[in-house]
Point group: C2
Chain length 245, copies 2
DNA sequence: CGTTCGATTGAGGAAGATCAATTAATGTGG
DNA sequence: CCACATTAATTGATCTTCCTCAATCGAACG
């Protein structure tokens, strides 16, 4: 009885999701033949205010999406992985409303918005793909808002790690040991807390053996068991913490 | 010289936006002839888990969108006004992921998802309409997340009122005096704070003359000047409050 | 006119921000 | 390769904001 195998214990349930991203990428590749662009950590692919010429799909790597307000506030509002789209928020206004910046080496595919629109008119499966990507993003943003509003700081950090590990797992990538490509300050900015609070939360998670730090630096995190992270979140809810009705 | 007319002092700038919603509604009405449904405060139009048969567009009234998690947390994650769409988050999974509940009398138009998809394939302007609605929702959700993360409680309440008044103004509705159709508890739940904090924030806003309560109850709020609300938000940022870098 | 529900206001406490000091990585020029 | 400079992370000590608990008040309703 193997117990250390959380992935694909139920192949029938895992299979469709596991196939979804490669299938989507193949469809896009074949029907639109997108221009490919290699990026390294720190490279922006667009900036808030840029005219929306293209939408982007990640073939590999990790991106952060940074929102900025007129009054100078700046915040990481999303993380993007393989198969995710970038730039969807700019469709309404014809201009990008955020910065998109690579935080790891990777490859993005550029889809001319006009060409995509044309193709979507002719090919139902392409339209579906786009609508589903947008829908997924809306649903995810709401979950994120909800975590922000209802979870205490420690749980938010745990949830952040769980989400990251989960995203990698769904894409068939190594999840046992993940490299956070963000500083504590960036993580805190994303989660709405200070870098000190992030650091303390991580220390506590490590002390509780929910995560472990690896030899090389504290930027690499070992997650022996994703379910344990979820358990940690749940525990911070149950013990007398109805937190906002 | 009439001075109490904040709208359309610059007709060229205001006109396109002001026309956008009626134009969109007319297009939908003519091309899809949607079934219309009257609702009253408290009526749900769908529940999380329901199969996605329709998308909905508000012709009038106000809706709240409520998200619930497996562990029982429940939160208002969005407010919807005339011209807004409901149910977009359910496209990806084929099921609604939230409850949508009327908080005022109004009328929603039901669009069979399949029919909408067909029509969008044939009519570019309809496809654009749908994509723009989804894009706008993504952009707005990010702004909301950002407010949550970067603004202190008082400013979040001010921003909430500003957004509500702004939404009404954009739709050509009375904005001088608005009726909040949510309890303090609901507002607090939406903004990630307790009802007491909402109450205190409102009292402070009234004391600073940024808002005023009307004779009948404290559920009606008079907003003499929307810009003053924005000013209040800004002030809570500048005086030694970098708040998260 | 009492009952109920929502709103307000105050007092005390806890989570998390801020300030500050230390330690660990990373990078740079010699 | 090492000394040094720089940046990131950790940890502790306060202080602030906001939550919790509780009492009071007002409005709506039967």
């Amino acid at each position: 009885m193997t117990h250390a195998e959380p992935i694909a214990t139920n192949p029938r349930a895992a299979a469709p999701a596991a196939r979804a991203i490669p299938d989507a990428l193949r469809l896009l590749s074949e029907t639109l033949e997108p221009e490919r662009r290699l990026v390294r950590a720190g490279d922006p692919i667009y900036r808030a205010g840029d005219r929306l010429g293209c939408l982007y799909v990640l073939n590999s790597g990790v991106f952060k999406v940074v929102n900025l307000t007129a009054d100078g506030r700046e915040q990481v509002v999303a993380l993007k992985f393989k198969g995710d789209w970038l730039g969807l928020d700019g469709i309404a206004g014809g201009r990008h409303t955020c910065d998109a910046v690579a935080i790891d080496t990777g490859e993005v595919w550029m889809l001319r918005y006009g060409a995509l629109l044309d193709a979507a008119q002719r090919r139902p499966e392409l339209l579906q793909l786009l609508l589903q990507a947008m829908s997924r993003e809306i649903a995810h943003d709401r979950d994120a808002l909800m975590s922000m509003c209802t979870l205490p700081a420690d749980a938010r950090v745990a949830e952040f790690l769980r989400y990251w590990a989960d995203a990698l797992e769904q894409r068939g990538l190594r999840t046992e040991q993940i490299t956070l490509r963000m500083t504590r300050a960036e993580i805190g900015n994303y989660l709405g807390m200070t870098l000190e609070t992030v650091s303390r939360a991580l220390s506590r998670l490590a002390r509780d053996n929910v995560i472990a730090f690896c030899e090389r630096g504290r930027r690499e995190v070992r997650i022996p068991n994703i379910a344990a992270l979820h358990g940690f979140v749940q525990r911070s809810l149950t013990p007398a913490s109805p937190m906002l009705q």
